[in-house]
Assembly symmetry: C2
Homo-oligomer: 334 residues x 2
């Protein structure tokens, strides 16, 4: 952990805090860019040979998108000057914080955390971007679990305000609080989960949606298009301002008890992986990435979706900046 | 149904189609405004004495909001000229389409549909804005169930693109198709559900979210604030562009089968109404409406939320207009 004797500002001054990022895939590169934009020096470790080749280009592409969105204060090269990309975990020795963002496979994460631990300073904090594996499990792979926590970003990390900071059973709360402070400097609206929830918040709730949605799809009651359209134009019309509970308050609560009483028993309770999803995974359909997914794509269409999202994301990000949670009335019940 | 011998354009020309709206509450008034803006003459029936007093003011307030958003082409009075507010169901005789938007109580809806049926032209189509009661049940209350369907709007109706058109078991598909054509003239992105799904699409999926979310809340693992913040900044950052399935394709499918396999068994399967919601309903907490809800509000804070939403809604509406579904690549699988 950084020098605790320094003042609060210095303790979370990004210029004094070197951050390591392990994994330079889609998420890794956008996290690297978010950190560079916040003023950190970043040491990026490419554990995969592919990442070593493609990673630098990904980072530069992301920085170019930021420049196009008017988010950069200097030239792209100015940011790249603060980035070191290496294959050698030894480069992490100078980092106060190391973020892991490799594939969601336990054995791979274990190996990565053991390599990180072998090289970082004993005072360093280690975070995982996992959205699937419990933090309490992952923290067993490091010698000092108190300094280990979940730091879960949304994609693209440089253009979203979401950040879920999750304590495992052994995480020292002061570790989490320090990362919370840092996260405000990253332009985030961080949430701090003091207990380790499987799937954290949004993913867990999305899994509940998936269970129901695939059951509707398999029953032939709704199509992919119907579902997506309904979500885009219904939930999409309030989500960014309100979240779930505030929306209930806004609509009025009086009907809910009756509606939930009649609806809950009709919802899917299946534990089975949806057949269509298993088929997709078995046939290596990777969605927009390889133009084969739940929807069919030509390569051109997959590219158009990437462009539409890049464009949309800039706009929703700027919109969300207008409604920061601290400026909305937010007094809690009781 | 309107004269089927007329050309397609005339058949759905709003100036030729008088629409009845029964119920002038929050939803009713905003639906009335959406219809007036589309060019319809509207006959609004106020079944409650309160609505007769407050309804006209609600409609005028909504029109004022539309004017402020730059959505009106003429003066507010120009729109009000096409509106008739009455207590007498007999006024519905000249309507080609009648929309019910009263409270979600079966007995009240039954009484309303019987009164509508006693007065409308035999060719009229009747729609319900219900989001809680099956269309197949409600259509039993009218003499010609083939001409009955669900027409479910999002709030505020004049500033959202969502519209769910749902067939009950006896709905004539041509009835639904005519309403679909009309809906495009209302500036909607309508979805057509050929089967009657309890809770339709988005509500049903939100119920799955509620089941999980209240279980997290009751276990102390997450707070109201955490959940809302996470949804606002995570799901809110892509929902309006993508919906659910497209998002999965965008993120890449390869991890999903494993994640769903481990997560589904951990999700709540309860049929119980959450205790906190039952308490709210029992104590007449109506949320923002009476400044008592899941969150606590002062009257001033409740008003601030109403304002924030009115403002936000204009912006997300204009944003969503930039990404109409027909301009995004949308080829379906198979």
């Amino acid at each position: 952990m950084p020098n605790r004797n320094q003042g609060m500002d210095e303790k979370v001054n990004p210029h004094n805090i070197k951050v390591g990022v392990v994994g330079i895939g889609l998420m890794g590169s956008s996290i690297i860019v978010a950190l560079l934009m916040a003023g950190h020096h970043v040491i990026a470790i490419a554990p995969l040979p592919d990442d070593k080749v493609l990673g630098p280009a990904r980072v530069k592409d992301d920085l170019t998108r930021c420049a196009q969105s008017g988010l950069l204060e200097g030239a792209i090269d100015h940011y790249l000057d603060r980035l070191t990309i290496a294959g050698d975990y030894g480069m992490l020795a100078s980092c106060s914080l190391v973020l892991e963002c490799v594939i969601e496979q336990l054995a791979i994460k274990e190996s990565v955390f053991k390599q990180i631990s072998a090289h970082v300073d004993t005072a360093a904090i280690i975070g995982s971007n996992t959205s699937a594996i419990p933090i309490s499990t992952l923290q067993q792979f490091v010698p000092d679990p108190g300094r280990f926590l979940g730091i879960h970003w949304a994609e693209p990390a440089y253009l979203t305000r979401f950040l879920e900071i999750t304590c495992g059973r052994q995480t020292d709360i002061t570790t989490a609080e320090w990362v919370m402070s840092l996260a405000h400097g990253w332009g985030k609206e961080p949430t701090l989960l003091r207990k380790d929830i499987r799937g954290f918040i949004t993913n867990r709730l999305m899994y509940a949606v998936y269970r129901e949605i695939f059951s509707l799809l398999e029953s032939g009651k709704a199509s992919l298009d119907d579902v997506d359209k309904a979500f885009r134009y219904d939930a999409g019309s309030w989500m960014t301002l309100m979240g779930i509970f505030r929306r209930m308050d806004y609509l009025g609560l009086q009907d809910y008890a009756d509606i939930l009483r009649t609806t809950f028993p009709q919802l899917s309770t299946t534990d089975e992986v949806p057949a269509v999803m298993q088929e997709m995974v078995d046939s290596n359909a990777r969605g927009v990435q390889n133009a084969r997914g739940l929807y069919a794509y030509t390569d051109e269409e997959a590219r158009q979706w990437e462009e539409a999202f890049a464009h949309f994301n800039r706009e929703i990000y700027h919109l969300s900046l207008q409604y920061p949670s601290h400026q909305l009335p937010s007094k809690k019940q009781g």
